[in-house]
């Protein structure tokens, strides 16, 4: 019986299918809002779902120079990483399915897996555009990853735990966004970097390198990568809102808070021009990392006095 219920919670609710559909729903909101801000009509509500159905039904072409094994395995690893990471976050405001001390680090690692898979996938297909794209994707990862991690460590430090569920609990009585505004901004922008959303979309800048690392992907492979991204979008947003916006408990606060974060992200996407890769790296290391480091130091020092 317990196996059955674990399977249910793994595959159907709250993670698994529910997660995938919520991910697509959030992707739709993102696309629709950006479209409306840009004075376009935007897609209908089932568009991300229709895209998936179409892509899964399409032929998958394996380029001649690509290693076939990695070509098929990488998308699966990527989506597995994204799906697993969802087990540790308070998705839909519920208690995480799994939880242990230090799961924050595991979740962040699992979230990076997608980017690494995309980078490797680009390298593996060895098309010129995907090579440039994967170099950029990995370069960008080294730029935002550390600041993003530090930005999530801030709340962990004040909560005194590296367990997501406990930080969430602590956050419910403390709006950390007001005490650590820098961390919030860095986490938000870091998330956009992770998801390669504009202005951090130089790894897939269509006007230079077509679709970047995923240029040669079609059909199923592409669909899985895309799904992985949608899932990462929702997991990332959940983490940021749980840590900074007073925690998430219950489905209504979850929706309100995550949608607020998503709204902020769409606004930034609309307003900003794509950064060149050197500008992205410069931005993170010159401002992002230093600011968030300073904040962490401040927290450590203050805590030292208080305790």
């Amino acid at each position: 019986m317990s196996t059955l219920s674990s399977l249910f919670s793994l595959l159907i609710f709250p993670t698994g299918l529910t997660l995938i559909f919520t991910g697509m729903f959030f992707e739709w909101i993102d696309r629709k809002l950006v479209a409306r801000f840009q004075n376009r009509v935007g897609p209908r509500w089932f568009q991300p779902f229709a895209d998936m159905v179409k892509l899964f039904a399409k032929e998958q072409i394996v380029p001649g120079l690509a290693g076939p094994f990695l070509f098929f395995v990488l998308p699966v690893v990527a989506i597995a990483g994204a799906l697993t990471s969802a087990l540790y976050v308070p998705f839909l405001g519920m208690k995480p399915v799994h939880s242990f001390a230090g799961d924050l680090i595991v979740t962040i690692y699992l979230l990076s897996l997608l980017t690494m898979c995309i980078g490797l996938a680009g390298w593996n297909t060895s098309s010129r555009f995907s090579l440039v794209g994967s170099t950029r994707a990995l370069t960008q990862m080294f730029a935002y990853e550390a600041p993003f991690l530090l930005a999530l460590l801030g709340p962990a430090l004040v909560a005194g735990s590296w367990q997501i569920s406990e930080i969430n609990l602590y956050a419910q009585s403390h709006w950390i966004v007001f005490t650590q505004p820098v961390g919030f901004i860095v986490a938000l922008i870091g998330l956009m970097g992770k998801l390669e959303l504009p202005p951090f979309d130089s790894p897939e800048a269509e006007t230079e390198i077509v679709a970047g690392a995923l240029t040669e992907y079609s059909g199923r492979g592409l669909a899985i990568f895309k799904l992985g991204k949608s899932i990462e979008l929702i997991v990332g947003i959940t983490l940021v809102s749980a840590f900074y916006l007073g925690g998430v408990s219950g489905i209504l606060p979850f929706l309100v808070k995550t949608l607020v974060v998503l709204l902020m992200m769409t606004l930034l996407q609309t307003l900003l021009t794509r950064l060149r890769i050197d500008q992205t790296v410069g931005l993170w290391w010159r401002f992002g990392a230093i600011l968030v480091l300073a904040q962490i130091l401040l927290i450590i020092i203050l805590r030292g006095y208080v305790l």
Binding site: Q38, V132, T135, S202, A205
Partner: protein, 557 residues
């Protein structure tokens, strides 16, 4: 007028020792025949004296009877045009020395001569094909009078488009190809950027993917049919093409279009400029990754597209011109609509001007990127807004006012920085000037007829017709032999002169800047490419016009 005479006298003085015969075919033109050996000294003399700039090189086949082919080097200085004419025997080697070391953009003109007419250019750095397709047979030149389509059967095995090994070509360099099919280019051009990491170390380009043989086709159509043919050279600046052609034919026929027609021509040209530049702004913003600006500027562009549709009935090829005038009237109602539209457009253009000069993120991608100094602009022979952004006044409307630009003059807009930001600013400021001019024209539209009668046969002669297109000077050379058809029409579009700015400036920049640099000169590929090769299931073949026409009719039935 005095100025023109003075300038022509100066040119004659400069070329005193070199000319064999000099004539003035038209008041503003000096036509000098020079020997092949004197060509380089003559070009150098004009260049060193800063006598204008090389505007175009026209190649002409005089036919089997005369046994000669000619190359005409047109230099323009204000309204004055000096043409250096070099005659060569038609049979055997027609050798021309290259002048690309003196004037860099001449390289593009010379390659056209070589591919289309079979001149052998000695000393040129490259003889790669630029326009003509790779499987085109050797020693077959489409613009020769005795060219026959049967000669042009594709040569098997002469494909340069086969892909080099993925990622690595020519030793250890890494080449990123952009085009002919690429999301950054909506038109078919091919660029090869050799990169070291993200830094571009070499750039190469190839054109002609949509070469339609319009110049050749013109020789088999009558004067009126050609008007509609040339209008289709470019879908963005169709009006300026039709205008340049009809003005040229009118000059040859010694007919003057009525003032009202000229004013309406300028008015439509002004509206076309607004549509073209707003389109460009959107493309440039998209290349930079600022899609919001792209969507907004294209939304606002609809206003001017609707105005054009209201006036002419068409959105793309307006066909406002006829030989001897225009065919569309501006009614009171339309005048009102234009004025209302302009109020909105002006307000939006001011807003975009503010965006491109203040948006920090967009400036990251435009400020100090691809900077071209005044001297470089002059050396590269840049035209239009690209030149004006570097402070070089190259604007036919100002330098050599034609048609209604005499009565409704416009002022030249320049910037000094020469970077991409300056090119945005120049183009947008130009629109404000255009709006002002359009308003003045609508308020003071001269009364009178719209057209004058044109003869069916145009008297023999040659003429040069220059018009400022949105992208720069558009150059038409038209030759009539007194018949119902032109003997030769040569079109030199502004984009061809501006390529040098991309190829020279991309080296040393980041790959991410390359699309921006290409967009920065507002390239128009269809203008550059004017024979069609269709690759279908039946393999490659070259089609004649009539076959192409039949195919088109069948296809769209």
């Amino acid at each position: 007028m005095k100025n023109i005479e003075q300038n022509l006298q100066n040119a004659e003085g400069l070329l005193a020792g070199l000319n064999r015969e000099a004539v003035h075919p038209e008041p503003n033109r000096l036509d000098i025949v020079v020997a092949v050996d004197d060509l380089r000294p003559a070009v150098k003399a004009l260049q060193d004296a800063h006598w204008g700039y090389l505007s175009a090189i026209t190649g002409m086949d005089l036919g089997a009877e005369s046994g000669q082919i000619e190359a005409l080097y047109h230099f323009c200085y204000g309204a004055a045009v000096t043409t250096l004419r070099v005659r060569q025997s038609r049979d055997g080697q027609s050798v021309l020395p290259t002048i690309e070391d003196i004037i860099p953009p001449a390289s593009f003109f010379e390659r056209e001569l070589q591919e289309m007419l079979g001149f052998h250019i000695t000393g040129a750095k490259t003889s790669d094909r630029l326009f003509i397709s790779d499987d085109w047979p050797e020693e077959v030149y489409p613009l020769r009078k005795d060219f026959n389509i049967s000669q042009a059967a594709p040569v098997e095995g002469r494909h340069a488009d086969e892909l080099p090994e993925e990622g690595v070509i020519r030793g250890s360099t890494f080449v990123v190809p952009i085009g002919p099919q690429h999301p950054a280019l909506k038109e078919p051009g091919h660029f090869e950027f050799t990169v070291d990491g993200e830094i571009i170390t070499a750039a190469r380009m190839r054109l002609g993917y949509a070469h339609r043989g319009i110049e050749k086709a013109a020789e088999s159509r009558n004067w009126i049919q050609n008007l509609y043919l040339f209008e289709r050279v470019c879908g963005i600046c169709s009006h300026t093409h039709a205008m340049a052609y009809s003005m040229g034919v009118e000059q040859l026929a010694h007919v003057e279009a009525p003032p009202r027609a000229n004013a309406i021509r300028e008015l439509v040209a002004g509206l076309e400029r607004i549509h073209s530049h707003l389109l460009w702004l959107g493309v440039a913003a998209h290349e930079a990754g600022f899609d919001t600006l792209f969507m907004y500027s294209w939304r606002d562009r609809e206003t001017v597209m609707n105005l054009l549709e209201q006036i002419t009935g068409n959105r793309v090829n307006y066909s406002a011109n006829v030989l001897g005038g225009v065919k569309c009237e501006i009614t009171l109602e339309q005048a009102k609509a234009i004025k209302e539209g302009l109020i909105f457009l002006e307000q939006r253009i001011r807003h975009y001007l503010e965006v491109v000069t203040t948006d920090a993120m967009f400036l990251n991608r435009t400020r100090n990127v691809g900077t071209i100094s005044f001297e470089e602009a002059e050396r590269f022979g840049l035209l239009g807004p690209t030149a004006r952004a570097s402070g070089l006044v190259r604007d036919v409307r100002v330098e050599a006012p034609y048609g209604a630009y005499v009565q409704f003059p416009i002022s030249a807009v320049t910037e000094t920085n020469g970077d991409l930001e300056a090119r945005c600013v120049v183009r947008l400021n130009e629109l404000l000037v255009s709006c002002f001019a359009i308003r003045t024209i609508v308020d003071n539209l001269p009364a009178g007829p719209l057209t004058v009668k044109m003869p069916r046969k145009i008297p023999a002669g040659e003429t040069v017709s220059r018009v400022e297109a949105p992208r720069g000077e558009l150059f038409y050379f038209i030759k009539s032999e007194g018949g119902e058809r032109p003997a030769r029409v040569h079109v030199r579009t502004p984009s061809l002169c501006n390529w040098v700015s991309v190829l020279e400036k991309a080296v040393g920049r980041q790959l991410a800047d390359a699309p921006m640099l290409i967009a920065g000169m507002d390239p128009c590929f269809s203008c550059n490419d004017r024979l069609v090769t269709i690759t279908g299931t039946a393999g490659r073949r070259t089609w004649s016009w009539s076959q192409l026409r039949e195919y088109g009719i069948e296809h769209y039935k």
